[in-house]
């Protein structure tokens, strides 16, 4: 039998274990006080000594010296990655390594469950590290009532290896200094009580219900590579992506080095575009390319993705506020210029809907940069109360060729032949059905009034950008009347007014509260808050309105697409 100290050095022992309780050991030729306890309730005496439950208080192991507990970052079942450093922020950490298939792990989780609260009150974090995929870890944590932190470590179990696990469950105490201060293997009520009491500095009671001692199972990390490849779906790289948390909830394309290199197309992988809020992860071009691969982009799309990320990281866009807000808003990406055709971006039928790879994956790539590199995982740093489906990705192109108006990028000062990406903080689309208008005034009024309830029916003026996507038939009506985009905007602005008295109740703006009750209040602060885009299929009079993101002072930001490397 071989024992290792915490440093991995072999400690030679001679063992004459009786079938229970205590064996006398020798270490380095000297007698020592180590104890081997075997489970008296089981057939332990019939098992080879290697399978016996070894309960050795770590600080009693001769030759043992405190060692730093290996750092790690693993997917939390609550979403997003979580590391030992974060767990340690509050004080000591008790790590319990477990696996679904191990009955003793289930026993340990069930019995430790009620201790999570007193440990938390004592400033001690309790975390279960599952040698299982996240969805399995989440299920087992739920069914056992385990209320500590649950982390998932699917194959190939690098963290388990770093901790030199032999068996599950294994409980490790990481002290305030980040050193492993204690370790217990299997279910050992008395030993765990010692460990937990030591962690808390106050007495912690661990139930002595039978069995008080129970051996566990071999850690999955101890198996050979071929066996491990069959565990946890480890051979399925799509499942592996979920296990790593490299997803927005949908399957992704694994970002292999080859795919990322192809996405970069010779660009400098180390080029830093900026820090992505809210966690301020550094957006190297390589990480952005990894997100583009995950999103399903073709390499040809990457210049647009890069421009979108650059635009979104402009301070004037205030991505920080957008990424963490309780509002539902996401980031709309508008593409103008010749690259629309080169990439096959859809600005026609179903322009806001599914069906076009370029639209869906470019928008998704930006969102993955924010969610993964920026750490804005929904339910963690992204605090959106509801969110909206466009937060998976929201990219549209303008139908410049069939529009009577100058396209957005030209409005914003770019030459018509340049390819430009514009990012706008926006809410989910609201469809506006209008099939009866005979004149531009009537149509502008109806389109405008659709905005009355955006953000809130009572919140006037908005003070933030609204986006109108005008369909071809509506555009044709305006064009026939010779209306410019500016005139459409001004007509919408002028049409949507209410007397202040009708708004002076409930939650409303300070502007309305201070206004004379007879004063006329507009829905927007100025016509310039309205962005008008041209897109949509030729049949059907359905335009769309994308409500605003408020309170961010989020400017509309445009960046030219740079296609050369």
């Amino acid at each position: 039998m071989v024992l290792c100290d915490r440093g991995g050095e072999e400690v030679e022992v001679t063992c004459e274990a009786s079938q229970r309780e205590v064996a006398c050991l020798e270490h380095a030729g000297k007698p020592c006080e180590l104890a081997l306890e075997v489970d008296a309730d089981t057939e332990a005496e019939h098992r080879p000594v290697e399978q016996m439950l070894i309960v050795v208080p770590a600080d009693q192991l001769s030759g043992w010296t405190p060692m730093p507990a290996p750092d790690f970052v693993l997917p939390s079942v609550r979403g997003g990655p979580l590391g030992l450093a974060e767990l340690r922020a509050g004080g000591p950490v008790v790590l319990v390594f477990v696996a679904e298939e191990c009955p003793t792990s289930t026993l340990a989780l069930r019995r430790l469950a009620p201790l999570a609260a007193p440990l938390r009150e004592a400033g001690v974090a309790l975390a279960a590290v599952f040698e299982d995929p996240p969805e399995v870890a989440a299920r087992v944590a739920r069914t056992t009532g385990f209320s500590g932190t649950a982390l998932a470590e699917p194959a190939p179990y690098e963290v388990s290896r770093a901790y030199r696990l032999e068996a599950l469950p294994t409980t490790v105490l990481v002290d305030r200094d980040g050193e492993e201060a204690d370790r217990r293997v299997g279910w050992d009520a008395a030993g765990l009580e010692e460990l937990l009491t030591r962690a808390c500095g106050t007495a912690i009671d661990v139930t002595r219900d039978a069995p008080a001692v129970k051996p566990g199972c071999a850690a999955k990390s101890t198996y050979d590579a071929a066996t491990i490849a069959l565990l946890d779906g480890g051979a399925d790289e799509l499942e592996d992506m979920f296990a790593r948390g490299w997803t927005d909830g949908l399957p992704v394309v694994p970002p292999t080095r080859e795919r990322v290199a192809a996405m970069l197309g010779g660009r400098d992988p180390g080029l830093v575009l900026g820090e992505v809020p809210p966690a301020m992860g550094e957006a190297t071009l390589e990480r952005v390319a990894a997100c583009a691969v995950l999103a399903g982009c073709r390499p040809a799309y990457f210049p647009v993705v890069e421009a979108a990320v650059r635009a979104a990281l402009e301070p004037a866009f205030n991505l920080n506020g957008q990424a963490v807000t309780t509002q539902p808003s996401g980031q709309l990406v508008v593409v103008n210029g010749p690259i629309r055709h080169a990439l096959g971006l859809n600005s026609g039928m179903g322009a806001l809907g599914p069906g076009t790879r370029a639209n869906l994956t470019i928008g998704r790539a930006l969102r993955l940069v924010i969610t993964l590199t920026g750490g804005a995982a929904p339910g963690r740093l992204d605090r959106a109360t509801l969110g909206h489906p466009g937060k998976l990705g929201f990219c549209i192109a303008e139908d410049e060729e069939n529009s009577p108006w100058e396209p957005l990028h030209v409005e914003r000062g770019f030459a018509p032949d340049r390819s430009v990406v514009t990012v706008i903080a926006s809410d989910a689309p609201l469809s506006i059905s209008e099939h009866r208008s005979m004149g531009p005034e009537e149509l502008a009024s109806i389109l405008g009034w659709a905005a009355a309830a955006t953000w809130s029916p009572n919140w006037w003026p908005l003070g933030a950008t609204s986006v109108y996507v005008i369909c071809p038939e509506h555009r044709a009506l305006f064009a026939a009347a010779g209306w410019s985009k500016e005139r459409v905007r001004e007509a919408m602005f002028a049409a949507v007014t209410r007397p202040a008295r009708e708004l002076q109740h409930g939650e409303t703006t300070p502007f309305v509260l201070a206004a004379d009750p007879d004063a006329t209040i507009t829905k927007w602060t100025s016509p310039q808050e309205i962005v008008v885009l041209a897109a949509g299929g030729e049949a059907g009079r359905y335009s769309a309105l994308l409500g605003p993101c408020l309170g961010m002072q989020a400017a509309v930001v445009s960046r030219e697409v740079v296609e050369s490397t």
Partner: protein
């Protein structure tokens, strides 16, 4: 399989917490309004309670709630106060 992580995997040093247990009597407490609706109402109440405990108070206001505080504001708070209470809102 060798993948490129989309995460910024750099380890960040955990910032140590400031010492706890500062007595309120005689302390200067900075009340930071993040400039969101009704945050001032919360801080008004807190201010009264702090005065009852013998603390002095100073008020600061962020430019806008949805952006990080300016470094100058953070420096000013750090230099002028023993404690800070930030009033979130909604």
């Amino acid at each position: 399989m060798d993948y490129v992580s989309p995460f910024d995997e750099r380890r960040r040093e955990a910032q140590p917490l400031a010492p706890r247990g500062v007595a309120l009597a005689g302390a200067t407490v900075v009340l930071l309004d993040i400039n969101k609706r009704r945050g001032d109402e919360f801080l008004d109440r807190i201010e009264v309670r702090l005065h009852e405990h013998g603390a002095q108070t100073l008020r600061e206001v962020k430019e806008i709630f949805s952006k990080p505080a300016q470094p100058e504001l953070i420096r000013r708070i750090a230099n002028r106060g023993d404690l800070t209470v930030e009033g979130l809102a909604d």
